[in-house]
Symmetry: C2
Subunit: 395 residues, 2 copies
Amino acid sequence: MSKGVGVDPMTGEAVRTGTTDIEPSLLTITRTMSPKELPPSSKLLFGRNFSDHMLKVRWTEASGWDAPSIEPYAPLSILPSATVLHYAQAIFEGLKAYRNPNGMATMFRPDKNMERMNISAQRLALPTFNGNALIECIRQLIALDRYWIPKEPGHSLYIRPTLIGTNGTIGIQPPNEALLFVICSPAGPYYPQGFKPVPLYGTTEYIRAAPGGTGAYKLAANYAPGVIAQKMAAEAGYAQNLWLHGPEHYLTEVGTMNLFVALKGEDGVIELVTPPLDGMILPGVTRDSVLTLARNHVSGKKRLAGLPEKLKVSERPITMGEVKAAAETRRLVELFGVGTACVITPVERIGYLGSDVVIPTGEDGMGPLSKPLWTELTGIQTGEIESEWNFVVTK
Amino acid sequence: MSKGVGVDPMTGEAVRTGTTDIEPSLLTITRTMSPKELPPSSKLLFGRNFSDHMLKVRWTEASGWDAPSIEPYAPLSILPSATVLHYAQAIFEGLKAYRNPNGMATMFRPDKNMERMNISAQRLALPTFNGNALIECIRQLIALDRYWIPKEPGHSLYIRPTLIGTNGTIGIQPPNEALLFVICSPAGPYYPQGFKPVPLYGTTEYIRAAPGGTGAYKLAANYAPGVIAQKMAAEAGYAQNLWLHGPEHYLTEVGTMNLFVALKGEDGVIELVTPPLDGMILPGVTRDSVLTLARNHVSGKKRLAGLPEKLKVSERPITMGEVKAAAETRRLVELFGVGTACVITPVERIGYLGSDVVIPTGEDGMGPLSKPLWTELTGIQTGEIESEWNFVVTK
């Protein structure tokens, strides 16, 4: 938690005493005088357009969190010595707001993002905060900019909370000033022409994460180093890269997504596998949602039409050797990436050590597990299926 | 190299054609109208004060490097969607300028920093540049702000070149806009009260680098994740942390410094060991300088007074087991960190798996190798010893 600073009466030294957390009741709103024209929904590209307003909350070690403010979207004034620019003291989140058929706006599982953002903050010695308080501030931002949520099916408003160290001294230490801000970008469907399974390049030249590192946290620092691996994949003709770990070539993540593999056992049971949260895997909200839907199907809490009767859900390590062997013996059912931006991305093949491992894909691009899971998940997100995962922004 | 963009006459697609590199002859200078008061040299703390001016060079994928400009030190205007804030698209360097006894200002080995900065840029798919051109721009900045180089012995002006991705679209890809800037901070001697050997905490809970990662590059992303390890070391009563790698506990770096260990062999030869540049170690300029001075002593190119006659210089892996065994058999001569900020930092003990490994230190805090190496190195840096490593800023 953020703390104020007082003086120890025994030693006269500064000590952390009080707590000033994010306080939604202090939120101020300054509306833009020049609203932007809404971009046509048909031409949206991910992360290019931003809505009229943004949320800002400043933090100092001395006083804790300032009063939050909603302001017109504008450049930030950042000292050239700010630690975010030199040492990557930065974390972020990504979540989406949807406009439901009845006009209601909702956010999908924002509590999960707040929980993870606080865990990321602790990993970098950045200040933590009350997640519900920030959700309420974001809710007011989205309510104000609700016209920026595209109405069309499959469209959404991508929300990007970011927390950066802003203190202007270039020593390497926990920051004593920080800025939390939230910006919003309207997003079209990831696959406007229907599902298109992607080819992946199995990356063994670079790593995304390692034991004792930061792969399980949503840090800015985890992303820039991956651009070169993505570039290498693109140059070799693949859409994205698949991060393989260790001499065993464990599958870990797909580009910036979590991944699932479906395998058919000799007993006819389908096993849905995702790598375990061993410290190298980002605990994705979509990953958690897919696991929960699949487990509810298995337990009978909520059966999903189309999902195999005999299903087993596993969080366990899986190697490229196992995937390749399953492909060769026709036991590989499908492989897909999951994430907030795409929801689910089916994979058609993996370039691995010089040749391609071919992955089965369904007629319309999705497989027998990904399709019912995607249908249920997007049904919940768009409000067609009622769920406690939807957080109401405005009715 | 940076490239302009043209159109392929065969396909009509955009292709990279021209090159617009950093061009010192286009440099413009805007002097500050309100020069700051120089901070008293006796009260300087590292990285707290910045000189009156800064250098800026913008880059776009479309046009390459813009004309460089020297401007008053001021906050930067950065889009909230800039990739440096979200994905740590940022690299930096650190080097020093000195005022010599005769009033001449010099920089220490700036060519090495430019070389490394270009290598770091490539690792993040940031634009590269002509290092000599940037040195000339920095030279003009330092010449303008030369009064900010404190005159007192052991003082210097710390120079911080930084390159950040500034494009305002939150896709994860090579940036199409970037900003290179250079700021300067006056620095006192690292040890104002004479050398004080520091205790280190041997970190096995977190990693700084791993094979296939980014440890060999000077990326912003390598620093924020280390703050928590430093904090843990401080809470346990140690000054800094020692990064140990793998189950063998290889010594890699000390906090943000390279390290050297001196061992006495049974034949009486002293071995000066530093971990090899295996992809996990930052190729430090001070590391390279210490290796060069020691090797010149061994080869007879330049003998250093006080350095052992029988000396062997090794770049090889070394484990905590070896260091501990050498300490127990009295074959451990000394252990020290090296870096631009401190030059040389002697170590007095290492907290390792619950107990302390004690390191010998000399009467005045430095050991039989670090002292003559430090004397030579600082003699060169301050201009008392002539060397091709000094780059003249102004006569």
